[in-house]
Amino acid sequence: MRKFSLFLVLLLAIGGAALAQDAPSIAVMTPFLAQPGTQLMVEGFEAAAADKGWQVNVIDTSEDIAALVSRMEDVALQGVDAIVINVDPTQIEPGLQAAADAGIPVFGLDSGAHPLLATNVTSNGYTMAAETATYVVDRLNGAGNVVMFIFEPYPPVQKRGAIAQAIFDNTPDIHIMDAITPSFDNGPLEGARNAMEAVLLAHPEAGSISAVWAAWDDPALGALQAIEDAGRADEGIVIVGIDATNQARDAIARGSNFEATVAQDFSGMAARVADLVEARLGGMMSAQVNHYVPARLVTQADLVG
């Protein structure tokens, strides 16, 4: 009977963690909670939900999309009042369908538009990429060699790369040396760092690399580490990222090669989603497919003083 009782003890021990069922119950679901931007959004949503007296269940499946679909089916059967997702909705259609069949509205938090979503709140990826790409073009006076860090599998990030590439291609003397998708095996920071080390080794001449454009901050930070460790920080390589994570802000504030990033208003997006969920629970529907929350360029001047 030892196995039997130990199983029960373990499970009873966590039984107390189940929360009261009275308040509206909202499931927040993502496979990307380890990403700083996602964390900020989820924390922002939890704060907004606490103000509204909701019960929030955060579910992270550690980059496993199939598991996320399964957990969506579970919460649909459980009968939560609403689901908020941070994932490409085209990849989780069975989960969206399960929620739709159960009459549960699903809201995108920086995910993407989809017919089965009530609505999606995001930053305008095209605008953000344009901000950082034109920053690079301006800093290089329209001439130089750029290394890009992109990520095609996730549409909101893929968009950024496409726009930056269009801007660089439209500038005759800007040459894209490489467009690298960093390996995620040990996290994108390590993957980008390794890739940048290889690029630096392949181009040892000072001044051969003018800038690094990254579709989000982690690869920009990885590239910065590689450049500093290679002793090439004084070559004037300009690095830009997107998302304005705390680590990126620190790197920009200390005057490193990392010069600019774009601050998405994650808390603002989370608060907007919470308001839209509240409106929907109150019976109001939104016909708007995407709600855009403005983002802004962050440079050293914004962080120091």
Binding site: K3, L6, F7, L12, A66, L77
Partner: protein, 337 residues
């Protein structure tokens, strides 16, 4: 030498099953409205069907004492191969055939490396895991394949079901049940199955007994590769999306399920019905803990602890629960004073 009494035989054999029923009972009492309902159990079987196919065929490899670490990467690769075939204008039959062929070839490569060249299964399949992952990423350019290129009849299979009166049995559940039945028959009722167990029991004795070990080990890897391919197609069909890494979570869970199943056998041998219970334990834990709104990271910790607990207790019961050396010494000192 003080020795605690052996567990009763039925507890040793059915302890894990009793533990599973205890978990079910617990979730039933905690979520009486939603857990023990037909739709939820249909939901659990559909969710676990893909892992089931990988774990059932992995059981055959583990019967011979080997591992196949490449199954998750193979499942991902097969999805990308089928998706690329759809992009090139192939029909469902052609894409599925090509995908299964890739699974078969990958399994044969594993078998060749392990049984032919003599590399350890761990190293060989770790290598092919990386190769398969790289092929999937290279073929897809790192991007997902989804949208209108995927024929509707392919996607509808993964989301479809057969209506039996009130009951809707998902196609994926039926397919997993078919694979389960096939593996059960192979292992239980065929000469090949008995020889596979003989190889796993004592390879040297099997060799002296005239069993063609290399050929059978090769066969076990081919079956595992095919199982991973079927699972990859099921995953692709269910999600209507092929992502170059989407099957990678399957490998560790499949091995965990086989280990859990081994605790249901007095000789601690892999057995496919035990693997089924292992798969169900993992599925019910994920489903029940989600319904109870337990933090997902705590879910992972609990699942890991339960696997360790079940295997440890089973291992102890195999050896007999012996008091540790320091305790035995202490007891004998007390007796002499």
């Amino acid at each position: 030498m003080p020795q605690l009494p052996h567990m009763p035989a039925f507890l040793r054999r059915y302890g894990t099953l009793i533990g599973f029923l205890a978990i079910v009972l617990f979730f039933w009492t905690q979520r009486p409205q939603t857990f023990m309902t037909l739709p939820n159990w249909v939901n659990i079987t559909r969710q676990m069907s893909i892992l089931g196919v990988v774990a059932f065929t992995m059981t055959i490899v583990m019967v011979t004492g080997d591992f196949d670490l490449s199954v998750g990467a193979m499942a991902s690769l097969v999805g990308i191969v089928a998706g690329s075939a759809f992009q090139s204008g192939a029909g469902v039959g052609e894409a599925v055939a090509l995908a299964l062929l890739v699974g078969l070839a990958g399994g044969a490569l594993n078998g060749l490396l392990v049984a032919g060249v003599g590399i350890s299964a761990f190293v060989a399949t770790l290598g092919t895991l990386t190769v398969f992952r790289g092929l999937a990423l290279y073929t897809s350019g790192g991007a997902s394949i989804y949208g209108r290129v995927i024929p509707a009849e392919f996607s509808s299979f993964g989301r479809g079901a057969i209506q039996l009166g009130e009951l809707r049995i998902p196609n994926l559940t039926l397919l997993a049940a078919l694979v389960l039945a096939l593996v059960f028959v192979i292992l239980r009722f065929t000469i090949v199955g008995r020889r596979l167990y003989a190889i796993g029991g004592n390879r040297e004795a099997a060799r002296f007994g005239g069993i063609r070990i290399a050929r059978l080990r090769m066969l076990s890897f081919v079956i595992s590769g095919l199982g991973a391919a079927v699972a990859g197609l099921m995953l692709f069909s269910r999600l209507s999306t092929a992502h170059p890494t989407q099957g990678e979570g399957l490998m560790l869970q499949a091995i965990a399920a086989v280990f859990l199943g081994m605790t249901m056998n007095e000789e601690a041998q892999p057995n496919v019905l035990g693997t089924l219970v292992g798969v169900l334990i993992l599925g019910v834990l994920a489903n029940g803990l989600t319904q109870m709104q337990i933090d997902t990271y705590i879910q992972q910790i609990l699942t890991g602890l339960i696997i360790i607990l079940a295997v440890t207790l089973s291992s102890l019961s195999q050896r007999g629960l012996r008091a540790p050396e320091w305790l035995r010494r202490l007891l004998s000192e007390r007796r002499t004073t």
